[in-house]
């Protein structure tokens, strides 16, 4: 019998159930998008699959009412927690006018929603790191209590902007939490060809901030790390670098075929550690989740995903000429 870890972290049963639901929702939305892509209904998908635990665990440790997030393209789990709806995510998948992220201008995974303090993101990786640092600088200047939270892949931690951004945050002791979702691949490039250090978190020392590596398949471990980091930040003790070790359960994107560079065995092994399965098992062990409840969650989520899909599929595209709008303030 397992000790109840979430209680000791100050999490109620309904909260961890909520986390679990959100992870399942992200997974099923993502799976649906692949089906839609293969059916030729949407041109592109880039997945959160395998990283939902890290994303949801981290987001739950933040203050959803005041904190700012700069998610990267896999972070469906983060934006769901921060208030983006399944319909809104599907509208983005279908590139429809009503998509709050970009009005159908950007690919799915390019998140942004001001009312939920989700910074608008682009495709070039790692540019969001200095942005989150800038938001944290504003928090310090205005003496506010919020923090900024930014994510990226481990491959992206080799970009200059990672170095420049974290150094800036370290020098000015800013309330920014950087989480690297290390899924061990940058498209086809394996970890050992990306980095020579043992773990990405070792880089924190060079920026005068604490760095920790956690098991990204365990939402509670990630939750705890982010919670501690957030306290540090709001107490004026500056930034933290967190590395969450995860697995990428799909190809890099719907345009990628990972069979050319990745062993099937490896993927199979990863699926056995699937964060959703592990977290489900944990919740069952502590009697928070039952087979019955699990089943009804699945059904509830399926309905949500169906509704989101139908809504988005039937929504209109933006007018052609609307492409001319919003280059500058009008």
């Amino acid at each position: 019998m397992t000790t109840n870890r979430h209680k000791s972290l100050g999490l109620e049963d309904n909260q961890v159930l909520d986390m679990y639901k959100t992870m399942v929702l992200a997974r099923k939305l993502d799976e649906r998008m692949w089906l839609l892509n293969r059916a030729g209904k949407i041109p592109f998908v880039i997945s959160c699959q395998g990283q939902e635990g890290a994303q949801v665990g981290a987001a739950f440790a933040l203050n959803r009412n005041i904190d700012y997030v700069a998610p990267y393209y896999r972070d469906m789990g983060v934006v769901l927690v921060f208030g983006m709806t399944p319909r809104e995510l599907m509208l983005s998948g279908f590139a429809k006018a009503e998509d709050p992220n970009s009005g159908g201008r950007q690919m799915p995974g390019h998140f942004g929603q001001k009312k939920n303090r989700i910074l608008t993101g682009s495709s070039p990786v790692t540019t969001q790191v200095p942005h989150a640092v800038g938001v944290a600088l504003a928090a310090k200047m205005e003496d506010k209590d919020f923090v900024s939270f930014v994510t990226l892949g481990e491959g992206s931690s080799n970009q200059g902007d990672f170095h420049e951004g974290l150094n800036f945050a370290g020098v000015h002791q800013l309330p920014v939490i950087t989480m690297v979702e290390n899924n061990k691949y940058a498209i086809s490039v394996p970890l050992e060809k990306q980095l020579a250090c043992e773990s990405v978190s070792e880089r924190a020392q060079g920026y005068g901030m604490p760095g920790v590596t956690v098991n990204g398949n365990d939402p509670l471990e990630v939750y705890e790390a982010v919670k501690v980091a957030r306290e540090r930040a709001t107490n004026g003790n500056g930034p933290t670098l967190i590395e969450a070790i995860t697995d990428r359960l799909t190809a890099h994107s719907s345009d990628d075929d990972d069979r050319t560079y990745r062993e099937l065995e490896e993927i199979e092994a990863a699926k056995k550690k699937d964060t959703i399965i592990l977290f489900g098992n944990y919740l069952k062990k502590c009697r928070v989740l039952t087979d019955h409840l699990e089943h009804s969650i699945q059904e509830e989520v399926d309905t949500i995903v169906n509704d989101a899909t139908d809504y988005a599929e039937n929504a209109p595209f933006a007018d052609p000429e609307s492409a001319l709008k919003h280059v500058y303030e009008e």
Binding site: P43, F44, A95, K96, A97, S102, G103, G104, R105, Q106, M107, H110, S122, S123, P124, V125, G155, S156, N158, Q159, G160, D161, A186, I187, S188, V189, K193, Q194, L195, D255, D256, T260, Y261, F317, A318, D319, P320, E321, S322, A323, L324, V327
Partner: protein, 327 residues
């Protein structure tokens, strides 16, 4: 002679140059085991090994900068930027370093690097996988910028770029990769960098363009022929520095010039082409120098409605040529 695609011409040029010259090597993201996200380096990792087909960390400034260092030493690196849109982090290395190494060292050092990147839209690439970025660099003496329009040109120009003793940016239209096929000689041949090429002879209207738009122009010209409009088409091939003489000749041929690019209009390659014409051919002109280009918005949206609205296509070119003919 075999019929090969635009991207197969890229691979063929790379293979032949690597076989010919030990100092040629490839570096970039996913170029090795995966053979490139578009498979431009397909099979080269197997043939030449990981030492010469290097999967690099995800860091464009290092891809360019390490390549530049190796080039100064005497190697002939061919660096791949996965998408032209992602060349931005490497701008400092390209403009401050590669472009100026020969000049600043008074000819003591030089930098024979080729930087390849897929550019262009019409493939649901959205804002950051559709851009034309040549205008950012087409004001930097020391650089050469090549943008081929056919498989034949790709092979001959890429081989010339790799053999060139100065830095060359080589932009390949990603939509052309599998769309365009033609007969290409198997053996060695190079096409001189810096020279434009007449892709069609005509007497009524001159179209000056480059890249995929050359094909839009050719398609439009075919249609217009039936209406008795005879179009002259100049393919710039090298967009920086420009082939002034060829531009002047093409202008004088008809006295009516349409300039076409899929890039945004203001500050694009065709702005300079127009300036050259206004400087040298004013009295040969029978009509204003018209420009057909993408609208001045950041880049092509993802939604098909807006993407189509943004993209130049054969119909838009056809209408613009007809307008000029009727002027």
């Amino acid at each position: 002679m075999a019929v090969i695609s635009y991207i197969e011409a890229v691979t063929a040029a790379l293979r032949e140059e690597m076989q010919r010259d030990e100092s040629v090597f490839i570096l970039g993201e996913d170029v090795g085991k995966k053979g490139g996200v578009f498979r431009a380096t397909d099979g080269l990792y197997e043939e030449f090994g990981e030492q010469r087909v290097l999967d690099t960390p995800l860091a464009e400034s290092a891809i360019a900068g390490v390549g530049i260092g190796a080039a100064m030493y005497g190697m002939r690196p061919v660096a791949e930027m996965q998408f032209a849109d992602f060349i931005m982090p490497a701008v400092n290395q390209i403009i401050s370093e590669a472009a100026k190494i020969r000049y600043r060292s008074n000819n003591d050092w030089n930098c024979p690097i080729t930087i390849r990147a897929p550019y262009g839209g019409g493939i649901n690439g959205a804002l950051y996988h559709s851009q034309s970025v040549e205008a950012i660099f087409a004001n930097q003496p020391g650089l050469k910028i090549v943008m081929p329009s056919t498989p034949y040109d790709v092979k001959g120009l890429l081989k010339a770029a790799i053999r060139d003793n100065d830095p060359v940016l080589f932009f390949e239209h990603k939509r052309a990769y599998r769309l365009l096929k033609e007969e290409v000689p198997d053996g060695h041949y190079v096409i001189p960098i810096g020279k434009a090429d007449v892709k069609r002879n005509g007497t009524d209207v001159t179209v000056i363009t480059y890249g995929l738009c050359v094909h839009f122009a050719l398609q439009a010209a075919e249609k217009l022929e039936q209406e008795g409009i005879d179009t002259h088409i100049l393919d710039l091939r090298t967009v920086y520095p420009l082939d002034q003489q060829a531009i002047v000749e093409a202008t004088e041929k008809t006295g009516k010039v349409l300039l076409v690019t899929e890039d945004n209009k203001e500050g694009s390659i065709i702005s300079e082409v127009s300036a050259i014409i206004a400087e040298h051919c004013l009295f040969e002109l029978d009509a204003p120098v018209r420009r057909l280009a993408g609208p001045d918005v950041p880049s092509m949206p993802y939604a098909p409605t807006m993407e189509k609205y943004f993209m130049v296509d054969p119909d838009k070119v056809e209408r613009a040529i007809r307008d000029l003919a009727e002027f």
